[in-house]
């Protein structure tokens, strides 16, 4: 169930968004993808999930090349994601948002849904049960029937994670899950990510600016800047890397003068 990126490149016109990025996420790892704004982290997610197609290189998940697959097929292959700028189905309730993600596990055909045969009710019941269990874990059970966009920001992010989990994915891509969360919420999120990984034998890739979360939960970190890899390794190693520090804070004037 490992995810492998080999020399992946993507450019939009003249802008090189991702240049020669390679990394390997082992099964059941929690892997961090960090970098300053515009480093190409979200683009990497969009390439993995098929929203964009990479120009060169390979993206292989679980032994399958993902390039020829459409986004819905990639989701079907077990890759779920959340979005940086929350993308909930705003007219649907919290519960309905989760149920949409069960469409491909349904056994009942459209025909049996119209006739309301047993298969339809069985599907609805088992889907609802699973959705409610997940909502319970993320303490969203009480708002199940609220319109999804009426939730506070942090809960909307958690709802997106729930929705992704409804796919029963093998790989979960989280795009800035801690954005807009306070210290306590972010601590909770760390536990939830670990819990998800352990319970569902997930592989998790995390794009995050919140260093408290990234350094606390990731086993390995990959740092991008301007679409290129500048460092990778354990959190301690990455934190100490002068290139990373330079990318985030800018280089120190003395060094500049010396260089």
């Amino acid at each position: 169930m490992e995810l492998v990126l080999e020399h992946v490149c993507k450019s939009f016109g003249g802008l090189k968004a991702v240049t020669d990025v390679s990394f390997k996420v082992p099964h059941k790892a929690i892997y961090g993808l960090i970098g300053p704004n515009g480093a190409g982290k979200t683009t990497v997610f969009n390439l993995i999930t098929g929203v964009y197609k990479h120009d060169t290189g390979r993206i292989v998940f679980n032994g399958h090349d993902l390039r020829p697959l459409r986004p819905a097929q990639i989701a079907r292959a077990g890759v779920a994601r959340t979005f940086q700028n929350i993308r909930l189905f705003s007219q649907l309730t919290v519960l309905e948002n989760l149920l949409v993600a069960c469409e491909l596990q349904k056994k009942a055909s459209l025909f049996s849904s119209i006739l309301r045969l047993g298969a339809h009710h069985e599907d609805e019941r088992s889907m609802k049960k699973r959705a409610e269990e997940l909502l319970e874990v993320f303490s969203l059970r009480d708002v199940a029937d609220e319109p999804s966009t009426s939730l506070p920001y942090g809960n909307q992010r958690r709802l997106e994670i729930c929705r992704a989990m409804m796919l029963e994915p093998k790989l979960l891509l989280l795009d800035e899950p801690a954005a807009g969360m306070n210290y306590g919420e972010a601590e909770g999120l760390k536990d939830q990510i670990r819990w998800l990984r352990d319970t569902f034998a997930l592989t998790v890739v995390l794009v995050e600016h919140n260093m408290q979360v990234v350094m606390g939960v990731c086993e390995e970190i990959h740092v991008l800047d301007h679409g290129e890899t500048i460092a990778e390794g354990s959190p301690e190693k990455v934190q100490a890397d002068p290139k990373v520090i330079a990318a985030y804070l800018g280089e120190e004037p003395e060094e500049e003068a010396a260089g």
């Binding site: 999930t49 929203v51 649907l92 993600a101 009942a108 339809h120 609805e124």
Partner: protein
């Protein structure tokens, strides 16, 4: 304001009981429809009122089917009349051919059980295929661009049928022997399209009129049953996925809802519904015995959109309300125009074009609705006993609160 909940309350009883209930409801509806079918002539002696009633039911079907694509899927089709027309012509041809097989007497109720289902099946098939054909571009087009394609399609259907003519030579079959290969194929197509009667409309193979097999039994019965189908489509996983797709295509794809598949399916289902509605209109008892291309012009596509938008995009009961409302309001305006007062006004001021005035009033109502209630009368909500009770309760509470404020 009622909350925007749309999850159907799950049935607490076992599925077999639900199915028994379904069967019982269908049986009751069929019996009721049969009774109405047999007695309507006596209850409502005025055939124009009967026609209006049947037309309203057919328009409900038109609105329900358009609601699938415009309301639930969030695509904007403004060529729905094209599919209705295809359904109407398909049923008109099938039913009048079958009618001739039966000796071309008066359409009997017993024969209608063979004629109506067969004709409607042909209609549904033809319209569904056309829907597939038009639906495929909808994968790439959105908004205005899709609207243009659908509008173009409807106009092509109308104009192709309306302008096809046949010369006396060709009717006699002289030109046949002189054309070969692909030419003869196109020739055969153009001859058969011209056989639809062009601008004068289609009235059966011997101009005797399309047999009126679809009485209230068929029209009301099918409207009810297809209404239930529309409701269940909306409150199924499929309908949910479709609404999710409308909200956010990228997010829907990310959870495995394939935009392409769902959009095309919704387009085909929508056009099948339109085809059935068209078929019923063509075979309608007390209706127009000829099928005319001009009944399916842009105006009628626009009426269908009005029905959906007025009732509330995405709402099944809203579309039904819209269908009834638009049918009756069009008739009402016609009636008002016929009254003595308006007639004398017309005589005294000949420059006054009342037909144009009707469009102005219509447009004003629509604009007012868009400003005051852009989501339509119901929005995406459904009108059920439960929601009505909810509204009444909320009103009561408001009143109680007011009473407390002013002791």
């Amino acid at each position: 304001m009622a909350e925007a909940r749309t999850v159907e309350p799950s049935p607490s009883h076992e599925p077999w009981r639900a199915r028994l209930r379904d069967l019982a409801v269908v049986a009751v509806v069929l019996v009721l429809a049969f009774v109405v079918d047999q007695t309507l002539d006596r209850v409502i002696p005025d055939s124009s009122v009967r026609q209006l009633l049947m037309l309203a039911a057919c328009n409900v079907l038109v609105a329900l089917s358009l609601n699938v694509i415009n309301g639930m899927a969030g695509q904007f089709s403004i060529g729905h009349a094209g599919f209705v027309a295809i359904g109407a012509y398909a049923s008109a041809i099938t039913s009048s051919r079958l009618h001739e097989r039966f000796g071309a007497g008066d359409p009997t109720f017993a024969h209608s059980f063979l004629v109506v289902p067969t004709s409607l099946l042909v209609s549904a098939l033809c319209a569904g295929l056309a829907g597939l054909f038009v639906g495929l571009p909808s994968l790439r087009l959105k908004g205005d661009y899709l609207a243009i394609v659908t509008l173009g399609f409807a106009e092509i259907v109308r104009l192709t049928i309306g302008t096809a003519q046949i010369s006396a030579d060709e009717t006699a079959g002289h030109a046949w022997s002189e054309v070969h290969g692909l030419g003869s194929f196109f020739h055969a197509i153009s001859v058969s399209i011209a056989g639809l009667g062009g601008q004068n409309g289609y009235a059966g193979p011997h101009e005797k009129g399309v047999p009126a097999y679809a009485g209230p039994f068929w029209i009301l019965g099918l409207t009810f049953i297809l209404g239930v189908v529309a409701w269940r489509l909306k409150f199924s996983g499929w309908g949910r996925a479709l609404r999710a797709l409308r909200e956010d295509e990228i997010a829907a794809a990310a959870v495995g809802v394939d935009p392409t598949r769902y959009k095309v399916t919704s387009f085909v289902i929508s056009s099948v519904g339109a085809g059935i509605a068209g078929g019923l209109i063509a075979m309608m008892r007390d209706g127009n015995p000829t099928v005319q291309p001009e009944s399916y012009n842009f105006q009628s596509s626009f009426d269908a959109i009005t029905m959906v938008i007025l009732g509330g995009s995405g709402s099944v009961t809203g579309a039904a309300l819209g269908g009834v409302f638009v049918t009756f309001s069009v008739k009402l305006i016609e009636l008002v125009q016929g009254t003595n007062a308006v007639q004398s006004l017309k005589r005294s001021a000949e420059w006054l074009d009342l037909n144009a005035l009707r469009m102005i009033v219509y447009a004003a109502v629509l604009i007012a609705l868009m400003v005051l209630r852009p989501e339509g009368l119901l929005g995406e909500r459904e009108l059920t006993l439960r929601t009505i009770r909810g509204w009444l309760r909320a009103r009561q509470e408001r009143r109680d609160r007011k009473a407390e404020d002013k002791p």
